[in-house]
Point group: C2
Chain length 149, copies 2
Amino acid sequence: MKLEDEIKQQKFKNEYQKVAINIIYTESWLKGLQLTRFKKHGVSSQQYNILRILRGQYPKPATVNLLIDRMLDKNSNASRLVEKLRLKNYVERTICEDDRRAVNVAITQKGLDLLEKLDSMEDELQKELGSISVAEAKELNRLLDKIRG
Amino acid sequence: MKLEDEIKQQKFKNEYQKVAINIIYTESWLKGLQLTRFKKHGVSSQQYNILRILRGQYPKPATVNLLIDRMLDKNSNASRLVEKLRLKNYVERTICEDDRRAVNVAITQKGLDLLEKLDSMEDELQKELGSISVAEAKELNRLLDKIRG
DNA sequence: TAACATTAAATGTAATTGTATATATTTGTG
DNA sequence: CACAAATATATACAATTACATTTAATGTTA
């Protein structure tokens, strides 16, 4: 459905303003889709994001700094999220011996198991994005990459 | 810059997963751009969103319900945001006589003045989106509209 | 019209996040 | 080497948000 009709605003200053609003609106729509699914497994989408990064590193650990660097939402508080994941035994934290200011965070087997469940959830999600073709998805990715300059 | 390089994740399950992550990442990038600008004027992007909707209606008022319906972020708490705007005299609230459960919210002259200042800020923002052409922006809007089904 | 369901908005509470600051460690400089 | 600056992380506190519940008004229906 067209953005104009979704938010009932027919006029935009120009195509760029519309893009900005459209990205924010679409992100909110997307998070809405993810939300209920994630909730079932007791993790937030940010916690999921951290777990995915850690799996990408596995079996190497990552420092909190690296997590902040790669997280989708730069504003969120990585060390607090890590602590929450640790309390649920999804990650382990050890002080980094090379640089004792830093902490190594590694995903546990339990964390990997959880991710596997969440992956199937992602399959469902992707079905909901199927209203565009693979070629269109590629083009969308290209444009999003380009707009960030 | 390509998403792969920004978040240093080279592999994605498929193009759709990448689109989902790309939208979330780009939205976060965009909000980052807006943030410092909004802060100068003491409003959040959600408060700005409400003011814009009210200006769209001006001089007609809007009910809280209509605000929720049109807001970009459906989860936010419209009545509390309206109250904050009211405390700063950017909006007025009156009980709706036709349906006494509802409230009419209208933007004040002071609110309109603020928006005008914020508009020039938007011009700056749009310069930062100029790395894509108008035609590409149109295509991006089309694809975002389409992906939401 | 009495009883119940629905709707609009507000609010209490807990969780999350933003901002600034603190702590510990390491790096760089004279 | 001493000492200031920078870095990695944690945390205190305030603001914001999510979720559930409450209040008040309106609709519905038997």
